[in-house]
Symmetry: C2
Subunit: 240 residues, 2 copies
DNA sequence: CGGATAGTTGAGCCTCGTCAAAAAGCGTGG
DNA sequence: CCACGCTTTTTGACGAGGCTCAACTATCCG
């Protein structure tokens, strides 16, 4: 649901445009594997480790190699908003490009590993890095907008469904089953992300379990009827 | 409210990093005025003109020179979400960088003018363009997140206040008064953006008028007590 | 084993959405 | 210039979805 990329033909364009014409993944993996070959500094994290905080001076982006992270925004008066859950292949710190300090917070939800990407260095040394970065940021913007659409037009249960299907899709894209989803985050964090209370998330999960569309076992969710679930967010629009 | 850039010292960094170290505006105006001097193609638009639609093949970004635009996302099943209102200095089409086709829609709310920015050309010819673009995209991401925070933690009236203050701030940044805001969009569009119904927007505006914090005259809003308004979104957190 | 964290479930209430009707603007053409 | 139709806005009444508060259970970790 989350990526509305037109899966169109990659145009045979002059080299500079090569990137912009790419639908999504192909050249991306090129750049990504280039980055991996560069022997950039790696960093191991444990559950609840904070990778960076708002206001902290920023030196690099982080590319997630393994594990799960949440990024969140904090307001002065204590409100918090989880802006996304990140997994392998995602970039952390995109939002603070152009700033000398981080604007959001990134916390590990599990043990994991990230690679530091010093943009200045990479911009100079890796041809196409800038393009890749811009394309990645654009994808982040589209994701954000999709979720804005979801939270403002879908009811509580529909949002939870969209969340589960999104996780499943992303897991599938990484080579996992997609039938089974292990939630690395608390109900409260899911609720925060979806603009719901944790009790509402619980109730939605319980209800979907009762009607047999998913099987909930603690944080392990088995998706039993993808078709029906998809129909529930595409069909009747919005609340009601 | 919307831009949480640290107004910190611009570090004396190696040239490549110059951009990333910039807090926000200074070098940006450099690039922007460079762009203006290039004699890039301009385009005049009328009220309700569509600059681009989802699926339409994309050739360039658009820099707003005058007028007001809304950008919105459309889902297959007809749901719509206004993703932002854009004015002078804003870029249209950022979200579809890396795609060959547009992912969202941009419509003029008034007569206006835009400049076409062909990224391939500019990336090659204007040094620092890529950096500027990345910084601009990052700012868009931060804005989006701020609004996600707002819509998920603030009550209806607070969201409307945040919206008015944001408009006022942006107008002030462009050299206008900031006391007076002319809404170029309908109540329905405001509501869509804020995840509210149009009736709720109307009620919020009416109420704020009654209590004397703003003066509503059709689409002309006069902000009478900025301090009190700011307190209402920073003070008591969220709903209730 | 015991304290803390996380999740579940219930009951009541409140904000905001829904439906409806009317007023006010606004553009258009006679 | 005014009449007409359309869009936009306002206001009211009502109901419901989800939030709040609260109690209880399960789980994790030292």
């Amino acid at each position: 649901m989350l990526d509305s990329n037109a899966p169109s033909a990659a145009l045979a364009a002059p080299h500079l445009d090569a990137w912009f014409a790419q639908p999504d993944g192909s050249t991306g993996e090129d750049i990504e594997s280039q980055l991996l070959r560069l022997g950039l500094p790696r960093k191991l994290v444990h559950r609840k480790d904070t990778l960076f905080r708002p206001g902290q001076s920023k030196s690099a982006l982080y590319l997630v190699r393994s594990g799960y992270f949440k990024t969140s925004l904090l307001s002065e008066d204590g409100r918090e908003k989880v802006t996304g859950f990140r997994m392998r292949g995602d970039l952390l710190g995109l939002d603070s490009i152009g700033l000398s300090h981080h604007a959001c917070e990134a916390v590990a939800l599990d043990v994991g590993e990230v690679i530091e990407l010093p943009h200045a260095l990479l911009s100079a040394r890796v041809p196409g890095f800038q393009m890749w970065l811009a394309a990645t940021m654009a994808r982040e913007i589209r994701r954000d907008w999709e979720w804005m659409l979801a939270t403002s037009t879908l009811g509580a249960e529909q949002r939870v469904i969209a969340f589960l299907l999104d996780l499943a899709d992303r897991q599938r894209a990484l080579g996992y089953s997609g039938e089974q989803v292990m939630l690395q985050m608390t109900r409260a964090e899911i609720g925060n992300f979806l603009a719901l209370q944790l009790e509402t998330v619980t109730r939605a999960l319980s209800h979907l379990d009762v009607v047999g569309l998913i099987a909930v076992d603690r944080r392990e969710i088995r998706i039993l009827d993808t078709g029906a679930l998809r129909a529930m967010i595409a069909g009747e629009r919005g609340l009601h």
